[in-house]
Amino acid sequence: MAIQDFHKNRHYVIRVIFIASFAILLFKAIQIQLVDSTYQDRARTTAIEKVIDYPSRGMIYDRKGRLLVNNNAIYDLNCTYNLVDPKMDTTHFCKLLNIDKATFNKLINKNFRSARYSRSVPFTFLSKISDRTFARFQESMYEFPGFSIQIKNVRGYPYRNSPHVLGYLSEVNKKQIESNPTVYKTGDFIGSTGLERTYEKDLRGSKGVRYLLKDNLGRAVGSYKNGSKDTVAVSGKDIVSTLDVELQQLAEDLLANKSGSIIAIEPATGEILSYVSSPTYDPNLLTINRNRGAAYAQLLGDTLKKPFLNRGVQAKYPPGSIFKTVVSLIALQDGVMKANTGMSCKGAYYYNGSSWGCHQHATPYNLEIALEHSCNTYYFTTLRNIVDQFGFYEPHRGLTAFNKRVADFGLGKPLGADISNEGSGNIPTPEYYDQLYPKDEGSWKSPTIMSIGIGQGEIEMTTLQMANLAAIMANRGHYYTPHLVKAFVDGSVIPDKFRIKRSVNIDREHFEPIVEGMSRAVKFGTGNTAYLKDIEICGKTGTSQNRGKDHSVFFAFAPRENPSIAIAVYVENGGWGSTFGAPMASLMIEQYIKGELDEKRLTLKERLSREDLLEVKEP
């Protein structure tokens, strides 16, 4: 027998120690495997990288299929710190990318202690590299492991015009990300103005997502679950816009060095054939690249030209005499006058001892002649007749009835076109005049407000509304909401609101005298400078009074029967409507209908585009 064993019972202690120790291990395993789910979440984010594939943004064509907006590649250089060769030739690298050593060191040594960066997760080393720089770099890229390229699309504009229509892209801001977190991530681009903004949803397409398995050094080693959770990037829809790029170019030429806008609409559809706001700028300046910030600041800082102001919809002006057509139609519809109503004009309108001027012209013994010569007296009277139709002491009722009809013409509120920031113009209401002329100061009556009969005073419109008026005249009583999108290339339909025929609630018969008046105005009257031998243009000049030089206004449609184009031209400080508005409109009409300008007319075009009105500033 061996030595006496005095400590036999100690094996219990040892067993208890073993069991207790292993119980501790089990409890810890329960805690991290079953109770605490953070480990499972973290495992998911550690080894699986979500790679975003950017879709190509939809392109924009003009109505004849010419490419207005395309995509150019721009490159972001990503870097995975762990994969970078510490012995790489940094001098060569910096030279290829046009950066200096100090910049290189700053860019590569991120704060890896912060949660934003990791040595094994790619970060953006240099963004917005141009394709030329990239092409040079790409040849040597194999020398620099750890660097990879992410392609993004930015916009290019082959025709260098129409910035106000097409709009530009910007990086999404915080608010946009927050309101749409599933779609946008920091660094994404979003349509900021114009078509880019209005049709952002159609143009942007949808991103694709790939889940990659990454090993501890950040190398991709395969797809997660064999790609079953991946989605493919879907390109944005291509848009065929309603614009005619030749018209755009012509309009921009005509408005060179002038403030104002030219808007042309196809009356039968409401498609905007041309939309130019001047002064304008080359949209390529605002494409996303490394010089964009400076270009943007310069354009924004140009307080003289204000190139960012989209004058076609954001500037509102007194329409001047072109509004006489609307007054005529309302008067005829309300029966306060007839087409053959004649009046006498003694060169001014006299009331209560005051006089409001007109100009020398033939006696307006009917509506057509009044329009032809744009007789002010005739329209002061007509407006008073409308406002006073319920009696001289009931101007509220009269004006309200008038405004209701005016609203039918799409005035006083935004038309709802697909142009961002569309203004509403201004149609003065009875309440407005009550405030302007309080009761204790004698209130207001029809003579007080009769200047709106000639489109002056408080009434204001956007140029788009004027162009739409021309379309209404061309259609003899209806319009389609003007719009810039003709079709989507994939066949999806344009929004319903652009396909609804909107009536202005004026009988068709009442349009004939107006159309005749407009035709005569071009043939024999104030709009004579718009006259074309072989196209019958119906137009009306306006000269909208201004504190500085008057604004030149003209609106027209052509040809008289089956009109194909309706147009409004507004040239700030251009003087008479016949000086700039009418000839510009005729050139536009000629270009659109004939496809080119007659050689003899080129001098007119040259002369108009050389005029510089920007020097003439309001006092």
Binding site: V13, I19, Q33, A43, N216
Partner: protein, 442 residues
Amino acid sequence: MIYAVGYNDEISAGPFDLNTNAGKQALFIGLSFVTIIVCLLIDSNFWQTFGLLVFGITILLLIGVLIFGVTVKGANSWYRIAGFTIQPSEFAKFGTAVAISGFLSRYNTSMDDIRSVLIAMGMFLLPMFLILLQPDAGSALVFTGFLIVLFRAGLNPMLYIIGISAIVLLILGFIINPLFIVLGLLIIINLIFLTSVQKKLQWGLLLLGATVFAVFLAFVDNVLPALGIQALLVFVSGFTAFQNRKSQLVAQLAGFLVFGALIAFSANYFFNDVMKPHQQDRLNVWLQPSKCDPKGALYNVIQSKISIGSGGLRGKGFLQGTLTKLNYVPEQDTDFIFCTIGEEQGFIGVFGIILLYLILLLRIVSIAERQREVFSRNFAYCVASVLFVHIFINIGMTMGLMPIIGIPLPFISSGGSSILGFSLMIGVLLKLDSVRMNRARR
């Protein structure tokens, strides 16, 4: 034979993630069977007789490796022979086991005899010291397992209590202001006085109130006044106790206080002023992870815990572990192999492995207790103890319970020396057990 079965089961869990080393590992598994068979053939008295010789050879190997060994990952722990690397520290565990078992089975060895205790301790402290020189802290730590054997052989439990208390104080001293530790010691002493000397109710209430007040002061960062109050109370209580003829208790508690404070202060000083930052990091990773850089010192533990935690209840399936397969977890075929099990087999796998190990250990304890030979019993305890330290520290380390120390998981981690070393132990144990009746009759 149940442990052999258990052994085989666990071997089959081996190739989970050993793609790169799977061939070598298979070879070693084969070799380990050969080893066991050879052990069964060797006479059962061989090891007891030549225990000291085996021990001497392993010690020479340990010295030799410091001179002739190859350095891998900063540790000079390997011999390179014909393409294979051999780690002598794995065999030193066996050598120490036979030597200590042999020494403890001598008639004149007694754990009540200070000389015997010192010799026994020296037998595992010597290889431990040599291994620390490599340096390989993990393998060295395994030798502390022999303290369990000495405990079973009769070493005074009070030594263990004092030792564990000292270690606890030491660890606390690393991370806590030593003044707080002294305050804690004073409170403990007061409570002892309260229960053993001051039996009057009002005294008790006064002491209790003052203690609560002191704890409160300490919490609002007024540790010095709190210390003052407690020290005064201890002094008064101690004086009373002295008058009550309990001077022995007073002396013991005074010693407790002085040594405790000494350990706390020196640990604190050592940690803050002597240790290098990377050494501090190692302890911080274990003791106060919130102070560590998650991408630096803490990286291994975090990835290890994430991979085990992500396994959930049922795991991701065989070879489906993303974090382990993608190399987020370091050393996953050796020290961190448990992560692969945790991630791929989930809690079910973890539970199974831990349970199997526990059964194995308890079985070895049972085998130990049925031996009639002291040598056999002690040897069985050596095997159990070494296995226990390996398993507990390895698994504990992957889950953040233990500091990160390079130490393989027995029978699962890859590594030829490790598996051969354990096979040797198991084989010898099987042989000893199989002949226990004969040896008893001898």
